[in-house]
């Protein structure tokens, strides 16, 4: 009796030891299998939300949908120009209000049905009905009509120089009209398209293990050239260090989550390489001259702030130097930029003098930022430090993204950090969004900056199509907004991506950052 008991007791205590041993034995085998040459694994930092091209406005999700859908027009390699995509050709009416596209033949959706003009009409009508973020880009559309199987006609209600470019954006992806049957509760199939793709692109989303990975496989009916990569896995690896370790072991081919300071070290490691290219993304500070601290209405104060910032220090600390200081709102590489535009330099004495001139003392400002960008914490602390030297107290307000966005929209902040990248290659993306007094809040003018002269200049620039005339108008406007220090023009970032050296064919296009040209990529 007691012996049996003793046996039972020792069984309990031995359980752990045996278990640990067993696990240890399992553990001693090799940890990971090699990835095949036709499979690409991308490590991303977070899971995605939803993929409906009519709803999503986030480049992170676009990297899934972009290769799964085709657009009427496409960006041409690394350039910001557009070339025929699904549309083999298009015609623009003289008044720039009617666009007629001819659909390329032989293109098929992933279910094998042909891409028709009707599908284009369905896509855009649906997008406008869903009325989410993407619809904001197509407010110019008055109507879209399929004319037979191959022709589709867009009628605009105003001249929109960027219209063609917006069609190349992710939201221009043509959706299979068959998805209409998936609609529930009048959601136009949003729930279905949130975790499915239904396009004519080279790939199809075949599996989405929430929190683990998304799997793309080739669209069997794809009308273009058959891609090399059979399978593309987007694997969620939340921690930057883990991503780096997994990249080093070849467990992932691309690591999106490498932090700024790690790139240099990653590039030096065997088998890894880092792409480092100028981008059109800028990092700026909103200076709330409309609804913020009253002192910020004074141009001298805003100038003082701009002189107080240590641009080189900020770029060194946040981008490890992989950035260029801005000389105005429009970044280098985008037409309309003023190459001779004024650039603020760090000059604390001048900053102090300007403040004295403005008669402002003991200025205390709140600096809003979120954890959305990993470098903002450093940036905010440096700005706090910089402005302190000029005699301005800065209180840091780290706020969650959702809250920060709401506060930006309402204008309840003094200073705020933000990034901006163009949706299409047109300077209006910067000038009209940032400075039009009709665009306060999230819509674009986040400094709540208002200057009737600037309004007039940028509005007329946006209503004409002559690039030369527009450039002239924008340069004129830029001189004013730089002079008046409407924003803190910090820097234009470099796009950096860590990948295995055997990943070939990746083309970086600044207009579709974070998106991979999977159709033409391969592993050597």
């Amino acid at each position: 009796m007691t012996q049996r008991l003793r046996a039972r007791f020792s069984a309990v205590s031995v359980f752990a030891v045996v278990g640990a041993l067993a696990l240890g034995m399992i553990a001693s085998g090799p940890a990971n299998a090699a990835i095949s040459k036709t499979t690409l694994v991308v490590g991303m930092s977070a899971d995605l939300d939803y993929l409906d091209p009519a709803a999503t406005m986030d480049n992170a999700q676009w990297k899934i949908t972009y290769p799964c859908y085709q657009r009427l027009v496409e960006y041409n390699g690394a350039s910001t120009d557009v070339v025929p995509g699904l549309a083999s050709a298009w015609r623009i009416s003289r008044d720039h209000l009617t666009y007629t596209f001819t659909i390329k033949s032989g293109q098929k959706f992933s279910d094998g049905t042909a891409v028709t003009a009707k599908a284009v009409q369905y896509t855009f009508e649906r997008l406008l009905k869903v009325a989410k973020g993407p619809a904001d880009n197509f407010t110019a559309i008055a109507s879209v009509r399929a004319n037979g199987l191959k022709t589709v006609v867009f009628v605009l209600n105003q001249v929109s120089p960027q219209f063609l470019y917006t069609l190349a954006g992710n939201y221009g992806g043509i959706v299979n009209p068959a998805t209409a049957s998936k609609a529930v509760n009048g959601d136009s199939g949003q729930a279905y398209l949130a975790d499915h793709t239904a396009g004519s692109g080279a790939y199809v989303l075949t599996e989405w293990k929430k929190g683990q990975y998304l799997k793309l496989e080739q669209n069997k009916f794809y009308g273009g050239k058959k891609p090399v990569l059979e399978t593309v896995l987007f694997k969620i690896v939340g921690d930057a260090s883990s991503q780096r370790l997994q990249l080093g072991k070849g467990e992932i081919d691309i690591a999106e989550g490498i932090t700024s300071d790690q790139y240099a070290a990653v590039a030096k490691e065997d088998g890894n390489t880092v792409i480092n290219k100028p981008s059109l993304t800028v990092d700026i500070m909103y200076i709330n001259s409309g609804k913020g601290n009253a002192a910020l209405k004074n141009t001298l104060v805003r100038q003082a702030i701009s002189y107080a910032l240590d641009y080189q220090g900020i770029m060194a600390a946040t981008q490890a130097g992989n950035a260029t200081q801005m000389n105005g709102p429009i970044p280098d590489g985008m037409w309309g930029q003023d190459p001779k535009g004024f650039q603020y330099t760090t000059n604390v004495t001048k900053a102090k003098a300007l403040l004295a001139q403005a008669g402002v003392t003991n200025l205390s400002l709140d600096l809003l930022y979120s954890a959305r960008k990993s470098w903002w914490a450093s940036e905010a602390q440096l700005i706090q430090d910089n402005l302190a030297k000029a005699g301005i107290t800065v209180n840091l307000k780290l706020t969650e993204y959702a809250t920060a966005r709401k506060m930006i929209d309402a204008g309840t902040f003094d200073l705020c950090l933000g990034t901006w990248s163009p949706d299409y290659a047109d300077p209006s993306m910067f000038m009209n969004f940032w400075f039009d007094s009709g665009n306060f809040g999230l819509a674009g003018n986040r400094s709540f900056y208002s200057n009737p002269a600037v309004d007039k200049l940028i509005r007329s620039a946006a209503s004409i199509t002559d690039q030369k005339k527009r450039t002239a108008l924008y340069i004129q406007a830029q001189k004013i907004v730089v002079e008046e220090a409407a924003y803190g023009y910090l820097y234009q970032m470099n796009y950096r991506l860590a990948l295995r050296t055997d990943v070939k064919g990746f083309v970086y296009n600044p207009m579709i950052e974070q998106i991979y040209n999977l159709e033409t990529m391969y592993k050597a």
């Binding site: 921690d239 930057a240 260090s241 780096r244 370790l245 932090t259 300071d261 790690q262 070290a265 240590d310 220090g313 900020i314 060194a316 600390a317 954890a371 990993s374 914490a377 450093s378 905010a380 602390q381 440096l382 706090q384 430090d385 840091l396 307000k397 780290l398 706020t399 969650e400």
Partner: protein, 275 residues
């Protein structure tokens, strides 16, 4: 005093007790002990390895990590203490009234603690500090609320047993009021288990604060809070090992010291665990 003497007698708690004294010393005199300003950025000195100028190296903004850890002692440990003491104080009063008065008040309070306990600690703390807005005081409040049901229940159980003692029964025969009984008899007599629980919880609170900081909900930068420091620092583990390592070690030491002391106090005061 006697308690301290007994604490040091045990080899298990002796080391912890002296470490605690060091932590207290560092916490109280931190402004005098930091060789550099813990908050002034110096981008040109960023990410320097440990050396004779910077014992623990520098961080991504060129701040001295040693100074930040020293200054962080006051923040992390102080706030944890504040949160737990607040929770213990409020919980003791709610719990003792609940236990002594009983009836529907007790029911309501106990069901409320049921509800609070049904939330996972960290998630509740997370949601609360998100709701209150990110600041170290709000994080402390969130932790205090999260820990509240524990103290309420503990105090209630104790109050129930104290209220069945003869001395409370005697007091009732004198016609004294309920608040008097709670204040003069019940609360003083349930201090011992509350103190034990408090000492065990402080370590946990330090970790919670650090975890909230790690998730971006604790102290606002540039406050040198350990959790926030690790949150930034752990991305540097592979190339700048010193950054997260020293900070992590600081948390570990502080928490283990409080835990061992808590265990020791519990052994001393809790007759069940002791002799």
């Amino acid at each position: 005093m006697k308690a301290i003497r007994q604490l040091i007698r045990n080899p298990f708690t002796r080391g912890a007790f002296f470490s605690l004294c060091v932590i207290a010393f560092v916490g109280i005199f931190s402004p005098l002990l930091t060789p550099y300003s813990p908050t002034d950025a110096k981008p040109e000195d960023r990410l320097l390895p440990p050396g004779h100028l910077h014992y623990f190296g520098t961080d991504e903004l060129g701040r001295d990590i040693f100074s930040r850890i020293i200054a962080g002692t006051r923040v992390s440990v102080g706030i944890a203490l504040f949160a737990i003491l607040l929770s213990a104080l409020v919980g003791t009063f709610i719990g003792s009234f609940s236990g002594f008065i009983g009836r529907w008040i007790d029911q309501v309070i106990m069901r409320s603690t049921d509800v609070l306990l049904a939330f996972p600690t960290l998630v509740l703390a997370l949601a609360l500090s998100a709701a209150l807005g990110p600041s170290i005081v709000n994080a402390a409040l969130a932790i205090a609320i999260v820990k509240l049901p524990i103290y309420t229940r503990l105090a209630r159980t104790q109050a129930l047993s104290v209220s069945h003692t003869l001395f409370v029964k005697a007091a009732k025969t004198f016609g004294v009021s309920s608040p008097w009984i709670v204040r003069r008899h019940i609360v003083p007599n349930l201090l011992t288990p509350i103190i034990v629980q408090t000492s065990l919880d402080i370590g946990d609170a330090i970790l919670l604060i650090a975890t909230l900081g790690f998730l971006g909900l604790g102290a606002q930068p540039p406050t040198p809070e350990w959790g926030a420091m690790i949150s930034t620092g752990w991305n540097y583990l592979l190339d700048q090992w010193w950054y997260p390592t020293f900070t992590g070690a600081a948390i570990f030491i502080a928490v283990i010291v409080f835990n061992i002391i808590g265990d020791g106090i519990r052994d001393l005061l809790d007759p069940k665990a002791g002799e």
